[in-house]
Every structure is written in C-alpha cells, then in structure tokens.
C-alpha cells in the first residue's frame, strides 16, 4: 500500500522503532526563541548536558521584542531579563543567535524559511505551536513544550507516537479577494478547533498547488488552530524556486540530490488517509471570526450567529460566552462591527506578500479617523524588502504605524496591546480572550480585509472599497 507524504517523512526520520514504544524521531532543525527555552537550558545545566547538534540549532528573539525604539534598552525589566537569559544561554552553549538589531532577527517562523533552513522532507521543531508553518515546504514541523525543547537540545531526537493523517483537498479557483487566510479560517470553522486533533493534515488539490509559498505558510501556520500539531503541503516547483539560492539551500550536487529526493515527497496515489475533508475553493468568500476561538468564524457577508442555533450544548454555551465577551449581539451584520485597531503582522501574515497585499489597498487611501493601524513586518529582512519597494511610505502616508519586526500584538508580550474593551481586526492567528491585551476583542482577518477595515473603520472586504476614492490615480 502506498504512503502519505507525512508517513514518508516520518519513516525517513525513525532512529529507533520498537514494539510498544513510541518511535524515536531524528530532528533536522531546532528553532529556539526566548520564551520557551530558559527552563530547558537550566535542565541541561542541572544534568551536565550539552547541546548535541549545534549545527542543527538556531535562535532568534521575537516574542518580547519591542517594535519601537529598538536601539534603546528594553523598558520592561522582565522582558529584558528574558532576552538577556537567551543571550547568556546561547553564548554559554554555543548556539547561533540572531538578537534584536541583527539583520536576520524576526519571528522565528519567518526566519527559518527565509534563510532556506526549512526544507522539504525535514523534521522541524520549536517551542512554539505555530511551528506548523514550516509544513508548507513538505517538512514535518510541529510545536513542542519546554521539556521537549530540552530533550531535543540534549539528544536531537524526540520519542513520538505516530499520528493519523487527514487529507484536506481544496480544488477549484479561489474567487477574487479570497486569500489563503480566508481559506484556512473556513477550514477551521468547518472541522472545529478539535477537528484535527491527533492528525497530521495534508492540504492538497488544485487550489493549493496554485498558491505561493507565503500563502502556503499562512495555511499550514494555522493547522494548530484546528487542533493538528502539523499541516503539510507536498513540495513542487514553487517550493524549489523559493528555496533556490537562499543562504542555507543546498548548492551544486547537493542541490540536485536534494531536488531528486524532494520530488519523491508526495502522497502515493494509493495512499490511504485516516480522514478526508473536501472543500470547493469557488464556494469561499472573505472570512472573519466573531468569537473567542478560531473555529468561531463566518463569511464577512454573514451576521453574528444566534447561540440558540447550535444543537450541541457545549458549542451553544461557548457561543453565548463568546458573544458576551466580544460585546456582540446575535443577528448583527459582521460588516457593521467597528474596530479601534488594525494589526497586520505575525507568523501567519507578516511576510512580504502580506504587506504588499495590504499596501496595495491602502495606497492613496487613509486609515479611518479613530482607528489605529499597526504594520509589523515578520522579520528585519521583510522590513528591508518592504522599504526597498516603498511599502513603508504607503503605510505611513495612509496613517498606519510602520514598526520594527517581531511577534508584537499577536500575543501582546511586548507593549503592543489592546486596552480593555478595544476591538481589533488582526491578521494574526488567535482570537482568544485577552490574547492581544486584557479585555481586548479580536477578529481574525486576512491582510486584505485588514486594510479595507482600516480605511472604512468597520469590518470590510476589498470590494467594499470600490466607493472610496483614492488619490493614487488607480
């Protein structure tokens, strides 16, 4: 019987397999950041252990880093101490680190791919649940806890039970203004926040094949929001073209050998998935969340749902609590929801394509009065590219704030937070209660919906901007 993509990559990394035990998997790439690593390094020290493979380990700073005044000492002493702890640990153990101020610094899941370190058929882990992002390359990539970070540092392996596999097939053409973000939000709403639990997802079908690498990363990134630790997309010419020439991509004979291997990384025709979901791309529309988990979403043209319409008691209760927290009323059109803040950034939508898409809609238009818009590039490299293309000017002229790279308002560990009761349209990945600041209310959206919302002041799609005059002569 044939094997799925996930099974092939899994099998290629089994160090040891024994009856009644989890497989011991080799890890090709271990990404570190300041939040989930300090206790792991402490564990190494307490047990007199070293980092086994420094050449497969890399660290950056992202969660705590400020996006303003980065040349000054970090104001929050606790954030500063955590970053200093990472710097001390990396120096002591010899780990390559890209700290704040370094040209390769950025959100860890933006940094790995842009360096060419994330490659098809590799296993990638990080103490961060959005490690699933790297699955866009046909890598088996998943988030781990701090105990597992310590385990990988010490052994370069992880004991893991083999997950089941789920195919999510999306055929057809995505309508205009429908992005990878709308697609993944629609998938999560369809299968639920627990729908992918215990599975590795494989996104496939003609709609996926047409997507750029950056869009594929947006989709795989949010696999965890459907409960799946990992999501994958088979590598193809788009993948190879993205990697070619990157700092850590193979060269010469190694490149040829790598591509030959990468071309084998697709699910066999006769492979059997444990579950299958099929979605028609043409049926999709710009999608937003109305609730407090990423599965509580709807097309932008819909109304806030009535909790009474849910048959399942726990879903009904969850919807009631969500509407209460979000300050919304059943039946209210989603388009009528006014926002205070718009956030463009994060490992979900903080790459150059995302900034281009938002800037294209903002060019010649103004952010609505009373709306604050933050644009936070995913990495320093993304920021430099945006400046080269003049996108920073577009953002600034429209009234948006152009910031330095980092996780920023996705989770508000740095000063970029919502005030209690404030409402955001955010291109990030989680609309949990208080995620973007205590009492803050989050609607997850695509960069295009974020930009249109910023201009109009209420949740809106790019098509809604057709009545808004631009000064750009377009």
């Amino acid at each position: 019987m044939g094997r799925t993509l996930a099974e092939k990559v899994w099998d290629d990394h089994v160090v040891r397999r024994a009856e009644g035990e989890p497989d011991l998997l080799f890890i090709d790439l271990h990404l570190l950041h300041e939040v989930t690593s300090p206790q792991a390094f402490d564990g190494l020290r307490q047990n007199g252990r070293q980092v086994r493979r420094l050449d497969l380990t890399i660290a950056t700073e992202d969660h705590n880093t400020p996006t303003l005044d980065i040349d000054k000492p970090i104001a929050d002493p606790v954030s500063r101490a955590q970053l200093e702890t990472l710097r001390k640990n990396c120096a002591e153990f010899g780990v390559r680190l890209h700290p704040l101020g370094d040209v390769e610094q950025g959100v860890v899941h933006v940094v790995g791919p842009q360096l060419g370190l994330t490659q098809p058929g590799t296993t990638v882990v990080c103490g961060d649940s959005h490690t699933s992002t790297h699955g866009a390359f046909g890598a088996l990539a998943f988030g781990i806890g701090t105990s597992q970070v310590e385990h990988v540092l010490a052994t370069q392996t992880l004991p893991l039970a083999r997950p089941r596999t789920m195919a999510i097939t999306i055929d057809g053409e995505l309508p205009e203004d429908v992005t990878a973000k709308d697609l993944i939000l629609a998938i999560i709403t369809k299968i639920g926040t627990g729908g992918g639990q215990g599975y590795i997802l494989e996104y496939r079908g003609s709609a996926i094949e047409k997507l750029s690498m950056e869009s594929r990363m947006t989709i795989c990134n949010m696999s965890i929001e459907a409960g799946a630790r990992a999501g994958m997309i088979a590598p193809d010419e788009t993948t190879f073209a993205y990697l070619k020439g990157r700092a850590h991509a193979p060269e010469g004979e190694d490149w040829d050998a790598a591509v030959a291997y990468w071309k084998t990384l697709k699910s066999d025709e006769d492979a059997v998935f444990d579950a299958e979901v099929v979605i028609d791309a043409a049926s999709l529309a710009p999608f937003v969340t109305w609730g407090t988990n990423p599965g509580q979403g709807a097309p932008l043209s819909a109304n806030v749902p009535d909790p009474a319409s849910y048959e399942d008691a726990s879903e009904r209760l969850a919807a009631e609590k969500a509407l209460e927290y979000m300050g919304l009323t059943a039946g209210q059109p989603l388009r009528d929801i006014k926002v205070d803040t718009v956030f463009v950034g994060s490992c979900t939508n903080g790459r150059i394509e995302d900034l281009r898409n938002a800037a294209a809609l903002l060019e010649g238009r103004k952010v609505a009065d009373g709306v604050r818009m933050l644009v936070v590039p995913g990495s320093v490299r993304v920021a430099l590219q945006a400046v080269e293309e003049g996108l920073d000017k577009v953002f600034k002229e429209s009234g948006a704030e152009w910031r330095h790279a980092g996780c920023s308002m996705c989770l508000g560990m740095n000063p970029d937070q919502l005030a209690p009761g404030e409402r955001s349209a955010s291109t990030s990945n989680r609309n949990f209660e208080g995620r973007q600041g205590k009492g803050g209310r989050t609607h997850l959206v695509s960069p295009q919906v974020a930009a249109a919302t910023a201009v109009l002041g209420h949740l809106a799609s790019p098509a809604d901007l057709s009545d808004v005059a631009t000064t750009a002569g377009v």
Binding site: L117, S147, Q197, L411, K438
Partner: protein, 197 residues
C-alpha cells in the same frame, strides 16, 4: 519527574469548552525563566470575578480539575502545565485535550484523563451537588472512581509506565546513543545546517 500512581482529592468543575492556554496562563506570565511561581497566573482573568469557581471557598484545596472538551488548545507553553501544578492540581479530566498540552502534561507528571462527556457530566453533577465529594484517579488500574462512578480510561502503556515510575525521558533516550549515532552517520549531505562545525 514526579511519579503518578493514584490520587484522591476534591474537584473543581470547570464548565467551559475550549479552555485555551491563554486562559490557563496569560502571555505576560511567560516572561518568567523558572518552572515555579505560576500559581497566581492560573486562570488569571477569570479569577478577577469573585464568583469564578476557583474563588469559591468550598473549592479551596481541590486537586482534580474536571473541564469541558478541548482543554489546553492553543500555544505550546508548558507554563500552562506548571501553573496547574503550582496551584495544586494533580490531574485534569476532560473529554478531549489538545495534543501539545497533553504531551506537556505527561512530561511533568500531571495526569490528563480522557473520559466520555457523559462521565464528565456525571462528575460535574456529583461535585456541584457535594463539593466535599472526592474523586480518585488510579493510574495503576486506569480507573476514575467516585460516588456512583466507576469509569475506565485509556492511556498508552508506554506513557503509563513512564508516569508510574516517574522516568526521565532524556535518560531513556540516551540509552539509545548507538542508534542516534548510526542515524546521524547516514544522514544525506544535502540536509541543512545552521553553522559549520
């Protein structure tokens, strides 16, 4: 890791689904660089409400958390497990756990017990009717026992063995040093490296 064999204690019924890790321990607590001192951050936002179940006097000292489905969704932060343990919880019962949270729990000796929602409902009713009611989670027999409730639960044999004996995963893995070295020796040259060593 602390071994887990059996535990008996009073319960906290948490009638919410999708209790995400941002609720269990908000992000600003993640700046700490230790594994302890997270107890005051546990459910921090909800605890501001004096009526929240954890604040009720009859729930003080409870050590068994009985929660709605999809407990622990969201981030990979192991701080969520440490916060529950620092507060005094020994075990969490739910119809479904997020994968990463469950893995983190097992690494720390916090036993996550999956039971059908009907059994969770029965446990909620029991402890709500009588907050002094005790629940026993017996890992040796893989059973949850309480007045009128005798429920079996599943946990894979390897995970159970590690928990019962409080075994350290890293030491276990390092027993396979020869296998790891053999794998490393056979890795293709085209695989990425972060530095030249």
């Amino acid at each position: 890791m602390e071994a887990f064999t059996t535990h008996t204690g009073r319960a906290v019924p948490l009638r919410r689904s999708n209790v995400d890790t941002d609720q269990i321990i908000p992000a600003h607590w993640l700046k700490k660089v230790t594994r302890d001192g997270f107890e005051d951050g546990l459910f921090e936002a909800w605890r501001k409400d004096s009526e929240f179940i954890l604040n009720r006097p009859e729930r003080q000292g409870a050590s068994v958390l009985v929660a709605g489905p999809d407990f622990g969704t969201g981030s990979s932060r192991e701080h969520a497990v440490w916060a529950l343990q620092n507060y005094g919880f020994q075990t969490v019962i739910s119809a479904r756990f997020a994968d990463i949270f469950r893995g983190n729990s097992l690494k720390n000796g916090l036993l996550t017990v999956v039971l059908p929602q009907e059994t969770v409902d029965a446990l909620w009713e029991l402890t709500e009717a009588d907050p002094t009611a005790e629940i026993t989670v017996d890992l040796e027999q893989r059973k949850v026992l309480a007045a009128g409730i005798d429920a079996d639960f599943e946990l894979d044999e390897n995970a159970r063995w590690r928990l019962l004996n409080g075994l350290d995963d890293i030491s276990l893995t390092l027993q396979n040093e020869a296998d790891i070295a053999a794998y490393e020796a056979a890795r293709p040259a085209h695989k990425p490296r972060t530095i030249t060593v």
